[in-house]
């Protein structure tokens, strides 16, 4: 290949990449532009124009309208993330370092729980929550997210702990450390990246979840996804508000992605059993 041909190939690579990047960012541009327009300025034929005067009221309105649901989402996501991560760490420790008879059969059965379509457990789940009085409120939703979060958190920690050499554990055992001693002295101090990956993954998943949110909550406990879906799905939508609402709903997970993207991707790969 001549040097000239190589240069042209490189030019084309950049052209395609830049074009693709522009296409990927178009919806983002549209969202920001629309959210900053006054409702009267939003017309379909001028939808792509950036607003001449920035109109921040939509954000104020969206914030006022959505703050209860944003609060619900924070309470839900933080509590369920902490609980499912702590339990996942313990499970991962046992499944990698304290294998018991049958654990090799039970582990795939545990993992299956993260792939099922949740419609297939929704009716009994709904019945269960109603009969225990947990239906409609945040505690019930938290319980559901903790339980169905266990497979992925267990998987991430098991894979993470598999990298800790058994020799390290053996020497601690010789020093007299037991189950909790090994966990506290050796495993836990090495677990920080595992916790970061799991926390980020769980928080993002729970924050973004919709099916349970829409079927298992009463209005007072609705998370942000349900509020946004209701707003966007309403008749005669004024688009500035859903767009500002989308941005508010997206900010926590997008910030996580921007600052901790590396860990986010590791969770992503773990979710396809590749991590």
């Amino acid at each position: 290949m001549s040097a000239r041909k190589v240069r042209w190939t490189r030019v084309w690579i950049y052209v395609v990449l830049v074009l693709a990047a522009v296409l990927y960012l178009l919806p983002l541009y549209m969202t920001v532009a629309t959210s900053l327009k006054a409702p009267a300025d939003i017309r379909l034929d001028t939808a792509w124009e950036f607003p001449r005067a920035l109109h921040w009221d939509s954000y104020r309105t969206a914030w006022q309208q959505f703050s209860p649901q944003l609060r619900n989402s924070f309470v839900l996501a933080i509590t369920a993330t902490v609980l499912s991560t702590v339990m996942g760490s313990m499970n991962g420790y046992v499944f990698s370092k304290w294998r018991f008879r049958g654990s090799e059969i039970i582990f795939p059965l545990v993992l299956f729980g993260m792939f099922i379509p949740y419609q297939s457990i929704l009716i009994p789940l709904f019945q269960f929550l109603r009969s225990t009085g947990l239906y409609g409120g945040l505690p019930g939703l938290i319980l559901v997210h903790v339980v169905y979060g266990l497979p992925i958190t267990t998987l991430i920690f098991r894979n993470f702990y598999a990298q800790i050499p058994d020799d390290l554990l053996e020497s601690a055992t010789l020093d007299g450390a037991g189950f909790f001693g090994i966990y506290g002295r050796i495993v836990l101090p090495l677990s920080v990246p595992g916790f970061v990956v799991t926390v980020i993954w769980q928080f993002t998943q729970i924050w973004n979840e919709f099916l349970w949110a829409v079927t298992l909550t009463r209005p007072a406990a609705q998370p942000i996804t349900v509020a946004l879906a209701n707003l966007a799905g309403g008749q005669a939508v004024q688009w500035n508000l859903p767009m500002a609402g989308s941005i508010l709903a997206a900010i926590p997970t997008v910030l996580i992605y921007i600052f901790l993207g590396r860990y986010f991707i590791r969770g992503l790969l773990a979710g396809s059993l590749k991590g």
Binding site: Y24, F115, Q119, I123, T154, N208, L273
Partner: protein, 370 residues
């Protein structure tokens, strides 16, 4: 040495999780299967202790052959179309982007971030944004006018157009043909691998399926009257939004795969005088094959479960874009027909399991071997 007592402690620490999962996953699935074979719904739907009787597979029979459940059958067609287009789109876009990024471009981190950021959004946010992008008289449709081109005339999510229409009565014949194709492909592969006897058996089965498709299968009466289904063009908008959101994921998977190929392998191919394309086609792509397969499985099961995106983009009541995951919600939670909703859920679970269970087993096994 790990003492017996310590081992019991370990078991006790996982026990709560295992019990919870046993109940919430397997217990509840069992209950759903039971409900799907009952007549629970209608009057006694919301009673805490409803009067339910067992009716076997009638709900499933209704779904596939009952004349009231025409929407479910179109939902199934929509689901298959959506899955194929969504998975195909993500694979192609992800593969192209990963390949380009693997050429040592400047600003790779920036591009990666841009292509992956939609992954951090919820389907609800994505759906809200794309619902606005796909307004028939705005958004994407007026984009060409910015550079002086005529605007696009397509109704996107509100389109009612259907192409490739076929009769549901032909389902047995079509299944027979599908079976014949599968057997034929298997037979051809065995033949090429030198397994003559197996190849012959595959050929016989393919021929049998073909004969069955055009004789006995045509006699099976699925429905008493013709019922046409086809590909709803409104789904294209859903696919577009889905690919925008998830193609970064395939890109990340493939990029990780490409980076995992040892330099010596590439070097060896170059020494042999392979061009860039030959290297890509005969060395890199074959090495990516396992990753491509796992992407197909993971994206495929996401597509089968698609709910949020369609719910918010087109609304749950838009029949043109509906899928079983949505009609399960409507049937059970709006219509209070729990038994039929459960039956739809069982169909969905079966399809997902067919995809996931072999994947789960083979992935875990190959990891154990390493």
């Amino acid at each position: 040495m790990k003492s017996r007592q310590e081992r019991l402690i370990a078991l006790a620490m996982v026990a709560p999780s295992l019990v919870l999962l046993a109940i919430f996953v397997y217990g509840f699935i069992g209950q759903t299967i039971y409900v799907s074979m009952s007549d629970w719904g209608r009057g006694a739907a919301l009673a805490l202790d409803p009067d339910i009787s067992f009716i076997g597979l009638d709900n499933f029979k209704d779904l596939f052959t009952g004349f009231l459940d025409v929407r479910f059958r179109q939902d199934m067609v929509n689901m298959v179309a959506l899955s194929i287009l969504f998975v195909g789109g993500c694979l192609v876009v992800g593969l192209v982007l990963a390949t380009l990024l693997d050429q040592g471009v400047r600003g790779e981190g920036f591009f990666r971030t841009v292509f992956l950021f939609p992954m951090s959004l919820s389907f609800i946010v994505t759906g809200t944004i794309w619902r606005w992008m796909l307004q028939p008289r705005g958004g994407i449709n007026v984009l060409p006018t910015l550079v002086g081109l005529p605007r696009i005339e397509f109704a996107w999510l509100t389109s009612r157009e259907q192409i490739g229409r076929w009769n549901w009565q032909d389902v047995p014949t079509l299944l027979g043909l599908l079976l014949a194709v599968v057997f034929f492909v298997l037979a051809a592969r065995w033949w090429l691998a030198g397994a003559r006897r197996r190849a012959a058996a595959g050929g016989v089965l393919a021929a049998a399926a073909l004969v069955w498709a055009f004789t006995a299968a045509t006699k099976i009466e699925v429905l008493p009257f013709p019922e046409y289904h086809g590909f709803n063009l409104a789904l294209i908008g859903i696919v577009l939004a889905g690919v925008w959101q998830m193609s970064g994921y395939t890109m990340a998977l493939f990029l990780a795969g490409l980076r995992g190929i040892p330099d010596e392998v590439r070097e060896a191919a170059r020494v042999d005088g392979a061009s860039w394309w030959q290297l890509y086609r005969h060395v890199e792509l074959p090495l990516l094959k396992p990753i491509i397969w796992s992407a197909v499985i993971i994206l495929g099961h996401i597509a089968l479960k698609a709910f949020d995106l369609i719910f918010v983009m087109a609304g749950p009541d838009n029949a043109a874009t509906s899928v079983p995951a949505i009609s399960m919600y409507l049937t059970a939670f709006r219509g209070n027909q729990f038994a039929k909703g459960a039956a739809i859920a069982v169909v969905l679970l079966t399809l997902v399991s067919v995809l996931i269970v072999p994947y789960l087993v083979s992935t875990l096994r190959s990891r154990e071997e390493n």
